[in-house]
């Protein structure tokens, strides 16, 4: 097992290197950092600008291969992922924004996973009853709605709720805002800002997962060993929980492992809609205000998350599936 994982890991490292290099060439050739200064008034002296861009390794007059080699050397020797056109260090940006993304995603993702699995398993045991129809219909609606539409629709709803109750229950711009000076005000304010995006994320995650879990559960409920368990006198709840749900959780485990690992890269749409300055928003901004090094750094980071997710899901299968664990 260890040897197998090591081999896969080595392969992933090569793939990651190639993919990130390709994105570097793409980003460096299409995003011109000079554009950041084009709108400055009074205009920046061309000579000074050239020197400055050269210092940040962003000068489009330097051959792209040369820029790439300088950047590569920086990454491998000093773990230096480069600078933005205004001289901010990408390492600093990413290391701050990654935690913003995680703070945004953590509760919503975890709660969504739990709710999704429970709803999926529960509706499967009630196939075609009204409650099952209602939940699966609602889940289909959520899955077919892009997350930014859910985000904006929830904001419109929240405004109406705020107006109707006369109290600002929902806050939905940014990670923190104005708050009182009582004990725990800062913490409470953050929670209040987190409430709506977390609900939106929970809904999306739970709807997606409940559909998967329901199908898996329906398959495993029809298996012979569940009938055997019932036939030998096990109560229904025990047969469902111990025999059907456990096997139906194995494929979900791989998905959960994957989504936990990619949590750091954040949700582009949720971050943008709710103005959370996380990694996803940073990536979009890096494309808008040309910042090739930022784009490449976020891409590489996401790539690492994907690799971790893939390996984690392998491990999850090994832990959950007795055929793999004991075989």
């Amino acid at each position: 097992m260890a040897r197998y994982i090591a081999k896969r890991l080595a392969n992933y490292v090569v793939l990651l290197f190639l993919a990130v290099s390709a994105v570097y060439f793409l980003a460096a050739s299409t995003l011109n950092a000079r554009a950041v200064y084009a709108v400055r008034n009074p205009p920046v002296d061309p000579g000074v600008l050239d020197a400055m861009l050269y210092r940040w390794n962003l000068n489009d007059k330097t051959p792209i291969l040369e820029r790439y080699l300088v950047w590569l050397k920086g990454v491998f020797t000093h773990w230096d992922w480069g600078f933005t056109a205004t001289g901010a260090w990408v390492n600093d940006d990413v290391s701050i924004k990654m935690w913003v993304s995680l703070r945004l995603m953590l509760i919503g993702t975890l709660a969504g996973i739990i709710v999704g699995i429970l709803v999926g398993a529960w509706t499967a045991t009630r196939q075609y009853k009204p409650s099952d129809r209602a939940f699966t219909g609602f889940a289909l609606l959520i899955v077919c709605t892009p997350s930014f539409v859910i985000g904006i629709a929830s904001q419109i709803l929240a405004i109406n709720v705020n107006r109707w109750t006369g109290v600002t229950i929902f806050e939905f711009v940014g990670e923190a805002g104005r708050h009182g000076s009582y004990f725990g005000a800062v913490f409470f304010d953050r929670l209040q800002h987190l409430l709506l995006p977390t609900l939106a994320l929970l809904l999306i995650q739970a709807a997606f997962l409940s559909r998967i879990q329901r199908n898996l559960m329906l398959d495993s409920l029809g298996e012979d060993y569940v009938r055997t368990a019932r036939a030998k006198g096990l109560p229904k709840s025990k047969a469902v929980m111990k025999h059907a749900l456990r096997t139906a959780l194995i494929p979900t485990g791989t998905y959960v492992a994957f989504s936990l690992a990619t949590m750091f890269t954040g949700a582009f749409y949720t971050e943008k809609v709710f103005s959370f300055p996380g990694l996803g928003a940073y990536f979009v901004d890096s494309l808008m205000n040309p910042n090739p090094h930022g784009v490449v750094a976020v891409t590489a980071f996401s790539g690492v998350c994907v690799v971790c997710g893939a390996i984690l899901s392998d491990i999850a299968v090994a832990i959950l599936d007795p055929r793999v664990r004991l075989g």
Binding site: N11, Y12, L15, L16, L18, A19, V20, V23, L26, A27, S29, T30, L31, L140, L141, V143, C144, T145, P146, F148, V149, I152, A153, Q155, I156, I159, T262, T265, F268, Y269, K272, V273, F283, V284, L287, M288, V295, V298, T299, S302, G303, V306, V307
Partner: protein, 302 residues
């Protein structure tokens, strides 16, 4: 099956039912799927017919009528630039439909060609194709497509480039499934027979392997339309997709999103159309899956 039922079924001779007829009957029994299919047909007809019948075209500017709420002049209101929301929604829907179908057809073609090739030939071709799949999957497609679209911001035909990119980064999952299914088929007797008769490999794949996994491909094609439309709106939402003056549902939603809390009609019209469209596509996909699945739970009925 007991001897009784065999005797019974031979006693009352029934007409043999072809597979396509069986599938159709199963499909028609699923109400959601039928509603979805009708919905898609209706939306396609609306996209083709109505643009010529509406009082405004999608790129026409009605100066003086900016951000007007729905009324008799503009049935669904106007945007900040004074463009008619109804005409834009209809045009955006047809763009999204075209992109969705183009992407689905392209990516299913790529995935069945590469997946079947990898499994049928094995060895280095399998290794290299699997390696390419890994390479394409290691970075979230959104990131790569956004960078490329940003670099080629030519408003004209931006939808075509977007469709090509979405297809180029959308085939990997299905290719994996096609490969594993082909692996299980390639040692079957009829494939071997065709091989020893001297049929070239591409004909064997096209005639004997792909038809046997066609149910997967059909379902994948349908669901691919939905995924592609969602991906297109997502990229357009950030301005990395279809670009103005051309309009897709995503572009229109993103225009409405900024003003959604004060001028909700620009946002809600395209958002509702989008959700209905994707739901219809998914309902048809689910219905097809159940109808084509030989192990489906239709309880012995045809």
């Amino acid at each position: 099956m007991t001897t009784d039922t065999i005797a019974e079924s031979t006693a009352t001779p029934r007409r043999r039912m072809s597979r396509s007829k069986l599938t159709l009957r199963r499909f028609l029994r699923n109400k959601m799927a039928v509603v979805g299919a009708c919905g898609i047909v209706a939306l396609i007809l609306i996209a083709i017919i109505t643009p010529h019948m509406l009082p405004w075209t999608y790129d026409q500017i009605d100066s003086g009528h900016f951000l007007k709420a729905p009324d008799g002049r503009h049935w669904l209101g106007t945007t900040q630039a004074g463009r008619d929301v109804l005409a834009m929604t209809v045009h955006g829907m047809s763009r999204s439909l075209i992109i969705g179908f183009t992407v689905a057809v392209l990516q299913t073609t790529i995935s069945c060609t590469l997946g079947a090739t990898a499994a049928y030939f094995g060895r280095w071709s399998e290794k290299s194709i699997m390696w390419v799949i890994d390479l394409f999957q290691i970075i979230p497609s959104f990131l790569v497509i956004a960078v490329i679209m940003k670099g080629h911001s030519t408003p004209k035909n931006s939808w075509l480039l977007l469709a090509l990119l979405l297809a180029a980064w959308g085939w990997m999952m299905t290719a994996r499934v096609v490969r594993s299914l082909t692996l299980s088929l390639k040692h079957r007797e009829y494939v071997l027979a065709a091989k020893y008769m001297g049929l070239p490999a591409y004909k064997i794949i096209a005639r004997h392997i792909l038809p046997n996994i066609s149910s997967l491909l059909i379902v994948d094609l349908t669901l691919g339309v939905g995924y592609a439309i969602l991906a297109e709106t997502g990229l357009s939402f950030f301005g990395f997709g279809v670009m103005a003056p051309d309009t897709s549902l995503g572009t229109l939603i993103s225009e409405g999103a900024r003003l959604a809390t004060t001028y909700p009609w620009i946002f809600s019209a395209p958002a509702i159309v989008l959700v209905i469209l994707v739901m219809c596509v998914n309902a048809v996909g689910d219905g097809l899956r159940d109808a084509l699945d030989p192990n489906s739970s239709s309880g012995g009925r045809a």
